[in-house]
């Protein structure tokens, strides 16, 4: 009970501090904080099209974050998630460009290809870690850049637009490959996939032997091995699951939102998802709302540059400040609790 109160308390303190820091930044750049917050709200959920934008940005973020809940449970820092999003997008783009069939078939195959692309890339980092002893942080980081390099190469090389090589992206995919939308932007299939993913991960971690064993391997690989679990199998599975979900996010981004392959196809959602999961305290149940809050800030933040002439990166500043303060305040409370225990024991 006390722990729950402390958790809520630390979140409140962190949020209050983050609001203060943001307000101070806004005041310093000559903007009214209240006006800014109103603009962010309006720019993200204030109208139908805006809300559609926000929801479509929410999808890849939730997918990547759900995957990260699995890898974090296994004790892995899957920084390679960004590259896994990119590889999913590349694989889906390949299908969208090369596979000509009825729309439903193209879309299904493209989404599956996205999952496989991300999965293989995740598995690659996993194999490097398990069999090559290459730390997943640095291996994953390396693979992020390889994936980004590949996408740039494709966009200005083999897949360049007819006549001109430009980093603005490939030609748009054939319409059959686009996810069907309601209105201009909103692709219901994408939303459904994201919701299903987060629910699946929640139950995977709560209800299944797989989730329990994954937690065991993550918390103490040596004990897990002695108890009889194949640690490498679980580490690889976690990387594969996260890669698959991130890849699906990339695929949705490519065929559901951009409708072409662009160098910045990942939208930074992989790295942002790490922040989401840190803020969620690694719990699947909090992923969806926190991710929504984050994309609101990101999408709504663009209004600040349009209306107030502020740099749109303010959204990122708010997200980063919030996570940093939450982590620090949480650490501070644990430290105080430790000291209290020590004092009680001595007294």
């Amino acid at each position: 009970m006390r722990a729950a109160w402390n958790r809520a308390g630390s979140k409140t303190i962190a949020v209050a501090l983050a609001v203060l820091v943001t307000a101070a930044l806004l005041l310093a750049s000559g903007a009214s904080p209240i006006e800014s917050f109103r603009l962010i709200w309006q720019g993200s959920v204030g109208s139908g099209p805006k809300a559609a934008d926000t929801l479509m940005a929410w999808v890849p973020l939730v997918l990547a974050a759900s995957g990260l809940v699995v890898t974090f449970a296994a004790g892995l820092w899957n920084i390679g998630v960004e590259g896994q999003v990119v590889m999913g997008a590349i694989a889906a783009s390949w299908v969208a460009r090369e596979f000509h069939a009825p729309s439903a078939a193209v879309i299904t195959v493209a989404l599956i290809a996205g999952i496989i692309g991300g999965l293989l890339w995740g598995l690659f980092a996993g194999v490097l870690r398990v069999y090559g002893k290459v730390n997943e942080i640095f291996g994953g980081l390396g693979l992020d850049f390889v994936a980004t390099g590949l996408v740039v190469y494709l966009v200005i090389g083999p897949w360049k637009r007819a006549g001109i090589a430009s980093t603005s992206g490939t030609d748009p995919f054939p319409k059959e490959a686009w996810l069907p939308t309601v209105g201009d932007k909103l692709a219901p299939i994408a939303i459904v996939l994201a919701v299903l993913a987060v629910i699946a991960v929640y139950f995977l971690m709560r209800g299944t032997f797989f989730g329990l064993r994954l937690k065991a391997v993550g918390a103490n690989p040596a004990s897990a091995y002695i108890i009889g679990l194949s640690t490498s199998r679980y580490l690889l599975s976690a990387m594969a699951i996260c890669g698959g979900l991130a890849g699906l996010g990339g695929a949705v981004q490519a065929i559901g939102f951009q409708h072409k392959l662009v160098p910045a196809i990942s939208g930074g959602y992989g790295f942002l998802a790490i922040l989401v999961v840190l803020l969620a305290g690694f719990r699947a149940s909090l992923i969806a709302p926190i991710a929504f809050f984050f994309v609101m800030i990101s999408v709504g933040g663009t209004q600040l540059s349009l209306r107030l002439g502020l740099n749109s990166s303010l959204g990122g500043v708010v997200q980063g400040t919030l996570v940093l303060l939450t982590v620090l305040v949480g650490g501070w409370q644990v430290r105080r609790a430790r000291q209290r225990v020590r004092l009680e024991a001595e007294g």
Binding site: T208, F209, K215, N220, S223, I226, I227, E346
Partner: protein
């Protein structure tokens, strides 16, 4: 010169490692500090060397009270400690290790000092060799030389004979006698009676965080044993169980874990038999247990369980074949911090189902908690249990019908009640036909529960004993590498 520790208290969580310890040592004295593992000797010495700040108590040297906040203060006061695992920097050269933390001096002079001091004791080092190429014994020698060079007047050695050769041991003992002869205070910490007996002038015995007695040597072994264990050990053999066919058979196996090498080891354990593995720590017992469990590859020979050849099978396949291993580090290689008792039982169940039946799991866990009298609830996490209850949980996780149970220090750090309970459980299993192979540093435990005892010395089987005819004295000598039969 005299050293006095007065009323030292130090606790870790719920454990009172030092509970009002008082110790006095005079100059020129080789003072032994004797006690079982977990008696509080290391904690006390770490307090004395400034490594641990005590909760309360004072330390005085030459009747002056010392302010000890860190090892820096201890070094300044002339107190140096050689830790059980010598605290050297493995990738650094011997000379760099010698210099690190010393007062300013140029490298050439330091090289000369190192050579001179080493020669005084008959040690020899290559100053440019990386410390990782040194044996444990040589690392100790380096540390001793370094501490003396820093001006240590009080030298503490924590279980220094662990993992060193017989030659190195005699060289070490010779050096310690010389130092004491020069008027230094030498405190020699050990849980091995034999060593204290050979080396020390006086001895203080610790038990459960307190000093329980002092004696000037030589003294009758029984007196010390009584102080260590609290009562004269009446060795009562376990009634021999019903022996079945061979449960585990090793034929000419060899294995190497970089610390100890086993060679050409042949051994047979029958169903319903208890085999004790005795020896100084690091003499080969752990190597053997891990080789049998499949955690360490054998380089020669065959291992059979029942009539199945499992030589080429890995740990998990041997687990399936009925070989279970419980290592000494309960929270390191057994239980998982943060997971509850229920979750542990479910992990150990090896179920093929997809969903965890949480509702049944809790009830099942509660039954097993009651059956194994674990003090904890189904949602208690592993690290919140006491050592004894952790061991009960670990045993409860092993299925009842295993063929071979390999255990490392089954009762180390446990209170008497838990230790008795653990052995009660083990005996039940043995009577049902399980073969138990266990390593222990507790002579009493070895003699009381084993059918046969294998004594290891320096990586080989030194002697095989029938436990019913052996006694503590003989076993102690054998462990030290002396066969006086």
């Amino acid at each position: 010169m005299s050293l006095e520790l007065r009323d030292i208290h130090k606790h870790f969580g719920r454990v009172r490692a030092n509970d009002g310890v008082t110790l006095r040592v005079e100059a020129g004295e080789l003072h032994g500090l004797l006690g079982e593992n977990g008696a509080g000797k290391s904690t006390l010495m770490k307090v004395l060397s400034g490594f641990i700040e005590p909760d309360s108590g004072t330390i005085s040297l030459d009747e002056t009270t010392l302010q000890m906040r860190s090892p820096r203060d201890a070094i300044a006061a002339g107190i140096g400690m050689l830790h059980q695992d010598p605290l050297v920097f493995l990738p650094f050269s011997v000379l760099d290790n010698f210099l690190l933390g010393s007062p300013p001096i140029d490298r050439d002079s330091a090289r000369g000092e190192l050579d001179r001091l080493a020669a005084d004791f008959g040690f020899s080092f290559d100053p440019d060799a990386p410390a990782r190429t040194l044996t444990v014994g040589e690392r100790q020698q380096l540390e001793i030389v370094r501490l003396l060079w820093l001006g240590a007047k009080v030298l503490i050695l924590d279980e220094p004979t662990t993992g060193i050769s017989a030659t190195q041991q005699s060289l070490l003992f010779e050096a310690l006698r010389t130092l004491a002869g020069q008027g230094m205070i030498v405190i020699f910490v050990s849980h091995k009676l034999e060593e204290i007996e050979v080396l020390c002038d006086r001895v203080t015995v610790m038990r459960r965080g307190r000093t329980v007695g002092e004696a000037t040597l030589p003294v009758a072994i029984d007196t010390l044993v009584e102080m260590m264990f609290g009562e004269a050990v009446a060795v009562t053999g376990r009634p021999p169980g019903v022996r079945g066919g061979p449960a585990l058979r090793l034929d000419g196996i060899a294995a190497d874990d970089r610390l100890t090498r086993l060679e050409d080891l042949t051994l047979e354990v029958r169903a319903g038999e208890v085999l004790g593995l005795a020896g100084l720590e690091g003499s080969g017992q752990r190597t053997l247990l891990r080789a049998c469990a499949g955690l360490l590859a054998t380089t020669a020979g065959t291992i059979e369980v029942g009539d199945r050849d499992v030589t080429k099978r890995d740990y998990h396949q041997r687990l399936a074949a009925g070989v279970h291993y419980l290592p000494a580090g309960r929270l390191e290689e057994g239980l998982i911090r943060g997971l509850t008792i229920t979750e542990h039982f479910q992990l150990a169940s090896g179920s093929n189902r997809f969903l965890v039946p949480w509702a049944d799991a809790r009830g099942d866990a509660e039954k097993r908690i009651a059956k194994h009298s674990i003090k904890g609830a189904s949602d208690t996490t592993a690290e919140a249990l006491s050592g004894g209850n952790q061991q009960r949980l670990l045993l409860a996780m092993v299925p009842p019908d295993v063929k071979v149970l390999l255990m490392e220090h089954p009762t180390r750090g446990l209170d008497i009640a838990s230790a008795d309970w653990v052995w009660g459980q083990l005996i039940q299993r043995v009577e049902a036909g399980t073969a138990v192979v266990f390593a222990s540093a507790d002579l009493d435990e070895l003699l009381r529960y084993s059918d046969r005892i294998v004594v290891f010395f320096a990586g080989r089987v030194f002697k095989m004993l029938d436990a019913s005819t052996a006694d503590a004295d003989q076993l102690g000598h054998l462990i030290g590498g002396r066969d006086v039969a």
